[in-house]
Symmetry: C2
């Protein structure tokens, strides 16, 4: 793979808007005006039709105190893969990344992953206990927690198994399924450090066990250094209370680390002197290597990216000409420094434009605005984070970790864009 | 009003957490543990109760492809004021600011203001026309617009009439009603400049008329300097398609300027050499002064802030001790530089902590963490923006603009916190 970063073929940026619109369907309009406020002009069948909806009063403001999307967007929903799990209570659905833009995921579209269903918790009855190697064990009500100084932070949350099915080859046809176990919201909560300091950590307290109040009793061990760094005990996401499937009324945020550790329905934090070796950090969420040994405590989600459009669920419908290539990049190490895009399967790379906020351990939105010549493309994106870590190719990842693993597949994804604009999930050697 | 910025009475920050928790209801817990993964301990009635919900499998992932809030949050909805408007189609409801945190407003809670109801538009049939003093009149489909380079920006949107009822005195008891005609989301769209450049602005083109496809045919004149500066033709909010009540499928963003200009269901942009003097910029959305003359084209939303908690809808339920005073500040001029909070009706001011992102022309979240001594408070907040503009007192605003106006009330709001923790909307002289 060369590192030229020169413009790829067909990427002449100058004047593409002028050239493209002729091809792109925006009709030059010969002087007739809407019969609106600015005066009537010649009528046109098209314009007459589009004026129709201003003849009628629309719905009033009381129709939906809590608003919902347009019926025309009914296809933009989380979706599952039926054969993937045995029951809905221990299952997953996927964020429709292909249909979204920017870096904020609407709460109603954040993917779900449960091990014992969605706990139904009355917040007034919920408690958070801190026990173990602390000076003063404590039990907090939700009202207690609301009295500590708060922080607001935007973080991505990615399941360790995101893209796991792709490890052995291109299998799922759409970035919703291949990469949709990630979301990004603004959390409001109390730093975990504040609560641990309140209880007083004993000198031999080196680990924190986070335990959920769900039927699965999700429990994970977190090293004290991380617990005191940037973890949040969060009660709001995107401004409002956590959604039930995201841990209402309380979840732990473990920024940049695998989603399984972001314990939902958080009810207990125990301080100990060593990790607890829970099921979810021994039997599961370890990475089986080719030699039969497993990597353990592989917490950080490495730099990763995916092109969300065009993609298998977002084919090109408009033919040749201007094309917005858009995608997401993220790294558990910090900020994304650069994203490169290839249209020829990784032979040549062009630096994409990152647009919108760049927060540490959050999604980044990138674009490459190209002039598509109508030929086949092998679209790839490659993220580089601020600490110099690159997203690997799938073959490089396999060479290092074998093919037994499910978790922590952060390799480069390839979409095959065909001449008719349809897009397929493929592998390039 | 003095400018001391010294800590106000009762604001001793040191050690307040230790002191406060004893008063605050977090019980010291004497060694018994949950009968969970970490081993069984002595039982406790409270702990037994809170363990109950992990005995049952919760709901599965397919229950709600598009997720909704917990039933326990059913009170967090947009609300209207019944007597305020004659019909629901030309009415308003209000963002529940008191119940939110951070700076992002969830799409389902963004206030609505319509003049002819919510237009029901099929995006495939929608068109945006650019006509008037341009070299090449154009009509765009939604698909055409998706081919231009995009931007992602977080902006507040405030109705010019927000807080309008308060001009003549404290009337509405709750910040949802006094200040709830504001929201803040991340927009994705195409710069208006890009589209105008595509059509080619003639040299005498100095104004742009934005026209909506709703029954009200909302139309506003925008000076070309603003149109070419930071306006966006947006199709997404917080990542997903615009909500119907926010202009689906297309709205104009006019950052920092009054919400009425952010034309929803955008269907036409006409370039002209002077403003159009539309109803919404002559009969309405002008500010009648005491002398009978009206200020016109008062576009910018001046610096403003409000304490969202405690507030009339968010009384203090926990008694004395640690109290999080939280609020929002914003300015149509740019970033918020500082927010001061007073607990004594404006005699002394303490600088609040702004937390979370600080974007130009976006909401800012501030906190003041105090130790409440249980006495009466007269809570106020005062915003200062990066250009040195301060939020005025209500009396200062009246002295300048009289009492005839409804629009552009950005004055300091006062909440009277009583000894029992209830909060009332009051005025201080």
């Amino acid at each position: 793979m060369t590192e030229t970063n020169k413009p790829a073929p067909g990427m002449n940026r100058r004047g593409f808007l002028k050239a493209g619109l002729a091809a792109g369907g925006a009709a030059a309009f010969g002087g007739a005006a809407f019969s609106g406020a600015a005066g009537a002009g010649e009528s046109d069948p098209l314009i007459t039709e589009v004026q129709d909806w201003n003849r009628y009063l629309g719905a009033g403001v009381q129709a939906a105190p809590y608003g919902v999307p347009s019926a025309h967007e009914a296809h933009v929903v989380r979706r599952d893969v039926e054969w993937l799990t045995a029951s809905t209570e221990s299952s997953v659905n996927f964020t429709p990344l292909h249909a979204l833009d920017g870096i904020i995921t609407p709460n109603g579209l954040c993917f779900e992953r449960h091990h014992g269903g969605v706990a139904d918790i009355a917040p007034a009855d919920h408690r958070l206990m801190i026990n173990g190697l602390v000076d003063k064990p404590l039990v907090f009500t939700m009202a207690d927690l609301m009295r500590f100084p708060r922080e607001n932070r935007v973080y991505f949350l990615e399941c360790a198994a995101n893209s796991g099915m792709e490890w052995r080859g291109a299998q799922l046809n759409g970035c919703q399924y291949t990469h949709g176990m990630v979301h990004c919201v603004m959390y409001t909560g109390v730093p975990l450090k504040t609560l641990l300091d309140e209880a007083g950590i004993k000198t031999n307290g080196k680990w924190v066990l986070a335990e959920g109040a769900d039927a699965a009793g999700m429990t994970r061990s977190i090293p004290m250094e991380k617990a005191l760094d940037d973890c949040l005990v969060a009660f709001k996401m995107n401004g409002e209370a956590l959604r039930p499937e995201q841990g209402y009324p309380l979840r732990l945020c473990v920024p940049g680390w695998e989603g399984n550790m972001w314990v939902k329905w958080l009810r207990r934090l125990e301080v100990g002197d060593e990790p607890w070796q829970q099921r979810e950090e021994t039997s599961k969420y370890t990475d089986l290597l080719a030699n039969g040994k497993a990597r353990r405590f592989t917490w950080v989600m490495d730099p990763k990216s995916v092109i969300t459009s065009p993609s298998p669920q977002m084919p090109i419908a408009h033919g040749k000409g201007p094309l917005v290539v858009s995608g997401l990049a993220w790294s558990g190490n910090g900020r994304i420094k650069r994203v490169d895009v290839s249209i020829d399967g990784g032979r040549n790379w062009t630096t994409a434009r990152i647009d919108g906020p760049s927060f540490s351990k959050a999604l980044h939105r990138f674009y490459l605005d190209i002039d598509w010549d109508g030929s086949d493309l092998l679209l790839q994106s490659r993220a580089l984070d601020e600490h110099g870590f690159y997203q690997p190719t799938k073959n490089a990842l396999r060479a290092e970790r074998g093919e037994n693993s499910i978790y922590h597949n952060n390799s480069i994804q390839t979409w095959h864009v065909k001449e008719d604009g349809t897009v397929e999930n493929v592998e390039v050697s």
